[in-house]
Symmetry: D2
Subunit: 340 residues, 4 copies
């Protein structure tokens, strides 16, 4: 049984950097061999040197062509995911890819077939499954302590609206942001979504509405076991990154509240005060990124199917498609309506 795996990383953006630092510092079983980015500049070079990247290259093919590289971590822009996954598959390299696989369901399906035929492993970066709080909720649910899940609630609110430029190419709020939330509902319950109803509006900034997107949403999911999922989203929670999960069932309820920044309470003449919750995903989910790569390593090492895998990526994209249709047509949409 191999105990270390050589990896290459494609994409040195915000998420790519997190993965690279985690591989170097926190996942000893993964050995970073090289990192590719199409746009290398001096700042990136300096950063790479500082954190200890052994080789920074421009052409991702150098990674694919290196027979010593066992696995590829894909953190490049969404529109390149499918291409790189397929290439890795054909070269029998395992893949960890950022979500979403793509927004085109046909392309995803085609890619998963190649993955299957080539027999590689494909893990998709739904990192919140590795957050210690949400994992604890899942353990509790799985152990039966809350009985049969009946209502699952996910609150996910970002601290600040991204730029309109970003939003234009984001694939829309549901594909870009909410996709994590039904993945969380599926993760917590182990059940699949059968029908969705979505509503939303551009309440934070009317400019968002002008480009055909929304910044505030509420979604109801009907699961195959009869349970109901409820998601609420906003692109701008002025007090920080609001991330909560609640699973209510026949024997109890497990609630994961926001992580506190610290435990200090200040009592003053007017109010009792606490510091705000962590500002954004880098603070809140930092640990989860290391844990998901560690999980990827373990699935390589012990030859287990990774989780979440490509199938999860596909299902989450199908739900996104259904949610989008529900929002546009203002009616509940069955998942079975979505043709692949």
């Amino acid at each position: 049984m191999k105990s270390t795996f050589n990896v290459g990383v494609i994409g040195v953006g915000r998420i790519g950097k997190i993965h690279i630092e985690n591989i170097i510092r926190n996942v000893p079983g993964l050995k970073l061999k090289m990192v590719a980015d199409i746009n290398i500049d001096d700042q990136m070079k300096e950063w790479a040197k500082k954190v200890g990247v052994p080789l920074l290259i421009q052409d991702a093919d150098d990674i694919f062509n290196d027979p010593g590289i066992d696995a590829v971590v894909i953190a490049s822009s969404t529109d390149t995911h499918v291409k790189f996954i397929q290439k890795a598959a054909h070269l029998k390299k395992d893949v960890f890819s950022e979500k979403p696989i793509d927004t085109d369901l046909k392309l995803i399906k085609e890619t998963l077939e190649i993955v299957k035929n080539e027999g590689i492993k494909l893990m998709i970066g739904f990192n919140r499954r590795f957050d210690k709080n949400f994992k604890r909720v899942r353990e509790i649910v799985k152990s039966g302590q809350i009985g049969i899940p009946q209502i699952v609630k996910v609150t996910a609110r970002d601290p600040a609206l991204p730029s309109i430029e970003y939003l234009k190419s984001s694939g829309g709020m549901f594909f870009d942001m909410t996709i994590h939330d039904w993945d969380m509902v599926r993760f917590q319950t182990g059940s699949e979504v059968e029908e969705v109803y979505a509503t939303g509006a551009a309440l934070v900034d009317p400019e968002v509405g002008k480009i055909g997107d929304i910044d505030t949403a509420a979604i109801i999911l009907k699961l195959d076991n009869g349970a109901i999922g409820i998601i609420d989203n906003s692109r701008q929670a002025i007090y920080g990154y609001d991330q909560r999960v609640e699973v209510f069932g026949s024997k109890g309820c497990a609630v994961a509240d926001n992580e506190p920044t610290n435990t200090v309470r200040l009592y003053t003449a007017e109010k009792t005060k606490e510091d705000n919750i962590p500002y954004f995903f880098l603070e809140r989910y930092m640990e989860s990124y290391a844990l998901e790569l560690h999980s990827f390593f373990e699935s390589l090492r012990y030859n287990n199917e990774p989780s979440p895998n490509g199938e999860d990526g596909l299902i989450n994209a199908i739900i996104a498609t259904a949610v989008q249709r529900s929002y546009k047509e203002n009616r509940p949409v069955k998942i079975s309506e979505i043709n692949l």
Copy 2:
């Protein structure tokens, strides 16, 4: 300006008893003259004597016919509300009535016209508006501290399923239970509902489904200012009476969590434990019942329109009708679809 008002109470059930004790002990401006119940037995007589009811009678007409009685508190069964409100109106007695006014929108409208024509005051018992926590949220919202409301969430779960007998005559979950929750959304935002989407199931007990009712529900409301309301309900939260409200807006978020039974935390070798939240509405909302009667007294004394009033009762019933239709037809229903 009159500073005390003589009242009669109709109905000595669970809620009637609360109102009677509050009038005697906690609302000095209301003087209880008599109490009527169609089914008087020895236990009721004994109870009445113990708490200090001055006169217990069988015929509510004795209350209506007493010119010394200024106001009537109606806590009898739902199907008698309209009849008693109309009778009180014609005799120029002000009315505090339990919710709902009725489940028939036409009857409600007719009754409100009589109330208007006769010029009496009519307050409806949406007592949760007087809960100190929810009131505090409303104060914060009203003061502008959370900016413009964008998402309002109400969680309302009863501790235990009522008997199937009770449910059969309850008017269904939406009229019986959820009606409080959109009233809360309206109260918190000061906005009106324009469209609803409701889903639900009989997850607690299949017997509930057999009588055509549900015990678990999720509802999305679209408000006239663009904000979104989200309600989730269960008839059986095994850990107690789960009652929470959250208003999220452009400048912040106000969250009213459950009242703790006490503040004691017990740290043991296995777990950190707290006592469960209060079991049911008697424990949780006791104070709110006194405060709503006090508010009724003040509207009598200072000649103000009571709040919530008959109009609130009507609107809440219209929403219940729309929600019911949405659930049955599995589609969003506009409030404007509901013909009076």
Copy 3:
């Protein structure tokens, strides 16, 4: 077995009014016959009328001389307690007296002997034993859930410094304020104090120091079972009435935190805020005053020894004397040093 008892109340100050209202409204087994106060004015008369006092008199002897009165509630100034308790005892009337019995240990002892000889019941108003949170801690400790108590911590801080006039006649901080806290240590553990060490200072206001008193204190108690008590006090906690209890033992720890004013949390751009804790004892301990009178009633009805009783009053005064000596001489003082 008698089920109702006629009572008279002496003293219509802040505490007297609380007891009077509780007797009228919340303890049905106690029937208020008359109330005496040496200084009756129009405001008091009006108040008495409003709450329903049947008879307001100036001379407490009218209460003692009324053979129909079973029990006396003493809420007059401390220097009258002993006189009234003795008088009541000789007339075979049971007594509920505010704390402290007196600051003179000899006088207390003499009085308790009369109480014993005459066979009346004497309950002392250490009301915090009836606070729902502290009672819950006691239940947990008694049930063995935290094992053998090893450390007991009491934090008791008043919201604002009383007037220097008040302090001059208060008997000093230990007799006036801290006496509740070692009573709490004794109540929680069921153990007695063997030795004390006290330190303190006038940190809030140097004027307090000028009259020979302190406003800030820390006290260590050694209990007869080896456990250690720790008390900290301040006369001025600018954020409200800070009242906490913690019992740490071999199997766990039970902590009663401050009661929240409400459960609302407000998340804003700068901070997360809560309303301050209740301002003072009227808000925090209101319920405990009703419960202690109810307990007094039950000890009358079922002929049980009241708790806390005169003996508790004596012991708490002995500890106060030892604490005062420890503070003055800056050394640990054994309780056995205190001669009666």
Copy 4:
């Protein structure tokens, strides 16, 4: 200005390993050159290889004799601290040393004079000053938000009694455990201790008493600004590592509660439950160890006096000596009584 410093580490025990991993992974400005331990075995060699130790040697003198090493981290047994600090000083190498410097005040003073004469930097490992919660309290206190500190409370309870063997050579509870706590009081207030009173007992295990030690303690400190410090300790808090700090002042109170293990609350039919707090210092203070080394690096880089420094080590040892005398003689002891 030098931006990286070569370091050697002496001692590969529990704490030494933490420092070594932090230097390698989390403090880029410190470059680990070699590590010395008097007892090297295969397990240690394997660990060293795994984490990336460049050179593992037996003789600490190899570190001292390497002119390329700028600074030494001392994590060997307490009785070697003074010897190594002095040697490093004579060789002009800066030192980070674990606490305590020694238990002999004369030896400490002598060592600090050598440190001063040779002009090296000496930082002492009172790591809790770098805990994010306690640091936040200090920031609040320093900013004046709680006004003038009046009462400082430190609760520090270990989860489990160490072995009797360990305790025999630990220097006693005050030197081994409580020394962190008055350091915390000094850190939070910026004030110095003038007098102490200590009490304690062997309540956890009578065997501890037989070796002349205690396992439970309460200590009162009088500070030079009049404020009062209160510490309570236990060697065995069965629910985990209980570490809390509270600073109460003229304008408010800042309270750092225990870190939660996660934010999940589980509501069940009987109780509301949370997972216990972190079990011991490795979980709770892990981050603080990295931050203190980072602070050491910064004092090297910017040529600042480190904090806490040797003087803090001396003062904390003096207080330990006074506390021990207070406990033994059962009387308050002034710091000025302790002769150096």
